[in-house]
């Protein structure tokens, strides 16, 4: 298993956000689905230690997540947040910043291409990009670190259909070409069907289903 959750719980100063979750996430393409407020994004942030669970334990490749150095872990397990949040500057400067943090050489054009952007985007000021373009730049920035796992938080929620299709196509290619495992948070079961083989379904912070796509989203 890529990730294993054992009795994971989290309260945010009061209401329980995640309640004794036990589930496995294998290598490959996983989707975390469920209605708004089910705790999907919170769970995703636990997986690269942007937050810690209050109870229980998460293992990554068999080792407790807490034993990983958080900064190194985040370079290996990248996270693309729901809303684009690039640094001031150009697309290229953002990619370069990410690559340098991970001590990886930057193959600019190739990385942009994997995220569905052509080379002309490198010099563009991030302020002048549409939200869809910014979201693809966020994906490219995460890829510049050559992660082994990508955590994607509703990567298409702010986009129209055309932009959504571009991102989805890019994600499918990532899996086949770069062999990156993905964990996708989505409120849309159809998107989960298009992009994943394994599904975790959350409802009100509890696990309502976990298993192969065909079983959980029958």
């Amino acid at each position: 298993m890529l990730f294993e959750l054992r009795d994971v719980g989290l309260d945010r100063g009061g209401p329980t956000v995640l309640d004794s979750l036990s589930a496995g996430i294998p290598e490959g393409a996983t989707a975390i689905v469920g209605p708004s407020g089910a705790g999907k994004s919170t769970l995703l942030r636990l997986l690269n230690r942007l937050a810690e669970p209050d109870r229980g334990e998460i293992a990554y490749r068999g080792e407790p997540l807490r034993d990983y150095e958080p900064l190194a872990l985040r370079r290996e397990v990248g996270l693309v947040p729901q809303l684009p949040a690039l640094l001031e500057g150009t697309v290229e400067s953002n990619l370069r910043y990410a690559a340098e943090l991970a001590s990886e050489p930057l193959e600019l054009e190739q990385t942009l291409e994997h995220a569905g952007l052509d080379a002309s985007f490198a010099e563009r000021d991030v302020k002048k990009l549409s939200v869809g373009e910014q979201q693809r730049a966020m994906l490219a920035r995460a890829l510049a670190q050559r992660p082994r796992v990508l955590l994607l938080d509703e990567p298409t929620s702010a986009l129209d259909h055309a932009a959504r299709d571009t991102i989805e196509a890019a994600l499918r290619e990532l899996r086949s070409e770069l062999e990156i495992s993905t964990v996708l948070v989505s409120h849309d079961p159809e998107q989960a069907r298009r992009l994943s083989d394994w599904v975790l379904r959350l409802e009100g912070g509890r696990l309502a289903g976990c298993g192969p796509l065909a079983e959980v989203l029958a």
Binding site: R12, S36, A51, L71, R74, L101, S157
Partner: protein, 268 residues
């Protein structure tokens, strides 16, 4: 030989102070006439200024008469303490801001006063250290309060960007760097700007005081320049110390943003 040796003195009688209250009455009258609703505040301000300055005047007289450096240090320590308490109330969005502010003011006061004494600009006597210390700590307080106020606002506004940067494996310091830079700048900019326009748009207080006390304009200008530069030093030390210590309080040791308020779950 210290540059600024001022030995002018003038005597102000109580009736002169009382007569100047006529202008307070004028201010109150304007407020009443134009319904600015400030009469009460003007009254409180006037009363407080009389009480506070009289008390400080006696305290300073005591310290001058005792002529010992220890009392000066106690007074400066009290100023640092109250300065940090006041600044904290203006930096409410910064978690545990008291300690950074206390250190910032102490360091700014200690370094700048130490330096002006070490360079031989002022003698280490109460006569110089008390007024200069008061200005240094007062300006350091304002600068660090402004810087931390800005830091609190910026950390809230930039939360998404900072967390996205942490998600790349950046350290807390790297993720907060643009925010820290802007906060430091806003703490320092007011004094830098007023130093640029000094003499053109306003006469700074020290110069006015010295001219009134009968000092030569040359001496007044030189002393004012020394003080302006001293304040620049103190303001930058305090704003830097406060921001560099305070930004850490927004993060956990594992480079996670602390939950300060309820974050919203992703909208569907």
């Amino acid at each position: 030989m210290p540059l600024a040796t001022v030995s002018t003195s003038i005597h102000i009688a109580l009736w002169q102070v009382a007569a100047s209250l006529a202008l307070v009455a004028l201010a109150a009258a304007i407020s009443f006439w134009q319904k600015a609703d400030l009469e009460r505040d003007i009254g409180i301000a006037t009363a407080r200024s009389i009480v506070q300055l009289t008390l400080v005047g006696y305290a300073i007289k005591l310290i001058f008469d005792a002529d010992t450096i220890w009392l000066v240090l106690v007074l400066l320590a009290v100023m640092v303490l109250f300065g940090a308490i006041t600044a904290r109330s203006r930096a409410k969005k910064v978690p545990s801001s008291f300690q950074p502010l206390l250190l910032a003011l102490a360091l700014a006061g200690g370094t700048t006063l130490g330096l002006v004494v070490a360079l031989g600009i002022f003698e280490p006597t109460p006569r110089y250290l008390v007024p200069v210390g008061g200005m240094v700590i007062g300006n350091a307080m304002t600068a660090s309060a402004v810087a931390l106020n800005r830091l609190g606002d910026e950390m809230a506004d930039a939360r998404a960007r900072i967390e996205a940067t942490l998600a790349l494996g950046a350290t807390a310091r790297e993720a907060a760097a643009p925010t820290v830079r802007r906060s430091l700048r806003s703490g320092m900019i007011t004094l830098v700007d007023s130093t640029k326009t000094t003499g053109l748009i306003f006469f700074p207080g020290t110069m006015v005081g010295m001219l009134l006390a009968g000092a030569s304009p040359t001496d007044a200008v030189r002393l004012q320049l020394i003080l302006l530069y001293t304040l620049l030093g103190s303001v930058s030390i305090s704003a830097l110390t406060a921001t560099l210590l305070a930004y850490r309080n927004f993060f956990t040791p594992a480079a996670q943003l602390r939950e300060l308020d309820e974050p919203a779950e992703a909208p569907a």
